[in-house]
Symmetry: C2
Subunit: 373 residues, 2 copies
């Protein structure tokens, strides 16, 4: 399902085409997060115009609201939301562990209470595959047990054991998917911050032979150095002929690090979340639009940017919108941040194409983080 087109000369970075039911995806690609079937504050036409070919939906949220009956009635998540390019959906496991209450893991699956209305539900490896089949997800994820840094090796091993058993059951259920449903199943490497467990997790996954592989359990509160160390360690173990996904990363430094280690796709709520608070990307790093110093600033957010926000609006006006609590502020800042990442990924792919990714990375980081990196 992934065709590697070019490999960087100084790193593991690669340009590829990932073939999915709703069209090809040029990778490395960032996926904006559409939690409840909408990338917050953005029209679908904007995402289309920016060239996004793959966005993310959250199974946990969609399962609880609007619920599968509504999606099924529309035909698919695509039909329901009018996004006719690809969707990757997660398994819901991460949200069960971070949002739901009174959760209880058993061999069968995980029982939890909804953060919306307190109602009880159970996710099993099998039923989350079914749910994602109902969504008609182009990439679907296996249910896993995500753990935080700092737990004991015994706990990490226990969680990994469950994750492995669940992945096998998910794969089996996915092998029996309905005719005509072509979504790809990705398994997830876990093992917390223990290298031997990470290695064992990868070996099990290779054995399982799912169409794609995600590295989970990173960007969960560990230090930057730990992230880099475990990303590199895990990525180097992955089979090169499969697509690689790292979950939950959206800052330029983490994206660049992931690309360097041959990761093809990643997602994060970060760009839209900071946008709603008035923080936006520029080539010279983040700026907070509410800052007093932009009161009379006639310049666009980033004078080199070609997005609809930068082509038209000044920092002074944007600051005003945020100070006045106007919806247009978050709308324009989200548009900018999501466009910024589309442009960033395109430049990354171009640098891989010319074998100069490491130079691009160095230049970008120097300009973006300055003395801070």
């Amino acid at each position: 399902m992934i065709k590697i087109l070019e490999t960087d000369t100084g790193s593991m970075a690669r340009n590829a085409i990932m073939s999915l039911p709703h069209g090809d995806v040029k990778t490395p690609a960032f996926m904006p997060v559409g939690t409840a079937g909408t990338v917050k504050g953005m029209f679908h036409t904007s995402l289309e115009e920016m060239g996004y070919e793959l966005i993310l939906g959250n199974t946990y949220h969609l399962y609880l609201r609007p619920g599968m009956e509504v999606i099924k009635n529309a035909g698919s998540l695509h039909d329901f939301t009018t996004w006719d390019r690809n969707y990757l959906t997660d398994s819901g496991g991460f949200q069960v562990f971070s949002l739901a209450s009174r959760r209880k893991i058993s061999e069968e699956g995980v029982r939890f209470s909804s953060h919306i209305d307190g109602s009880y539900h159970t996710f099993t490896p099998e039923n989350v595959v079914e749910t994602q089949e109902t969504l008609r997800s182009d990439i679907q994820m296996v249910l896993d047990v995500c753990t935080a840094p700092g737990i004991s090796k015994r706990e990490a091993e226990e969680a990994l054991k469950t994750t492995i058993a669940w992945a096998r059951r998910a794969k089996k259920r996915w092998d029996n998917r309905a005719e005509g449903y072509e979504g790809k199943l990705f398994s997830i490497v876990q093992g917390n911050f223990y290298k031997d467990l990470r290695k064992r997790s990868v070996e099990e996954i290779i054995d399982l032979d799912t169409p794609g592989i995600a590295i989970g359990g990173l960007s969960v509160g560990e230090t930057k150095d730990e992230f880099y160390e475990y990303l590199a360690y895990t990525a180097e173990l992955l089979p090169k002929e499969k697509p690689h996904y790292v979950m939950g990363i959206g800052t330029p430094d983490y994206i660049l690090e992931a690309v360097e280690y041959g990761i093809d796709i990643f997602d994060c709520v970060y760009p839209t979340r900071i946008a709603r608070n008035g923080t936006v990307f520029t080539r010279d790093g983040l700026i907070a639009l509410k800052n007093q110093k932009f009161t009379l600033d006639d310049l666009p957010i980033d004078p080199t940017c070609q997005c609809n926000t930068c082509k038209r609006y000044s920092r002074s006006y944007l600051r005003h919108l945020f100070k006045a609590g106007e919806m247009l502020g978050p709308m324009l800042a989200s548009e900018h941040n999501i466009h910024f990442l589309a442009q960033f990924m395109q430049e990354i792919r171009e640098s891989i194409s010319t074998g100069s990714f490491m130079q691009y990375k160095k230049n970008f980081i120097e300009k973006y983080y300055g003395d801070k990196s």
Copy 2:
């Protein structure tokens, strides 16, 4: 400044072109309200695509935030907000009476405390002309004293006396406007719900000879019958060769009534305010998108509507967005409601053109209000 093109045969309705510094405006026209320099939840490009030629800004809000220094720095309200078609700004008087606290009217003007930070300010007939000159408003309004229904005739007369004196001072200040500033001053008919006071107010205004005339003090809490009665009574007194404006109306029935009596422009926050709450216009009346009955409804809001929302999204998806508190809900509902009124006004102008406005009005009301009208 207004060229009457066509007059309806069965009513006072008229099609005209109003020439303003930022281009011609086809009337009758509805003006979306951009309180703080943004029509809430809408991109300026959408308003442009829908053909809006004139929108409203609120002097009170803009004066307090971002403040005149910021607007002056940008050049004009148009430059600041990137809207290069026309702006009508109000005088701020209505907001001083409805939003500000500790207000005190004197002969000089009105002193009040800001609803944002409690700071004290004084609006005078002269300084609100100056403020609107700084905004480079295409139509600016005189400072007036707006009164609620139910006050005594003595109180109404007192308020009218002040309004008349202020209008004279405003006109004098506007006559001395800066070279190159071409914005038009509109005076405002007051007189509460006393016909002789309304008549006296109109006579004073005719004497004052401002480029345009607004009917104020309507849609302030009176009954529908009172509104109709005082609208008709006042409108019939107005000189036909001047543009007529009724402030604060945005429901189809009030708009149709105003057009019937020769009103050219009107504004209201109503269409965007109800949209943010999930209530949208259809040919068959308002619908509340949060309603349970739309859970599985695949239809667009209004199957006859050509707006970007109706061309793409189902009621089921829109309901979900509102239930989930997603920004895209208000964005799409605002887009629809503002488009609906653009289309409505175009049909009104077409019906005037063919001398069939009263028939159009009857048909629209019957379908829209059903048995309720």
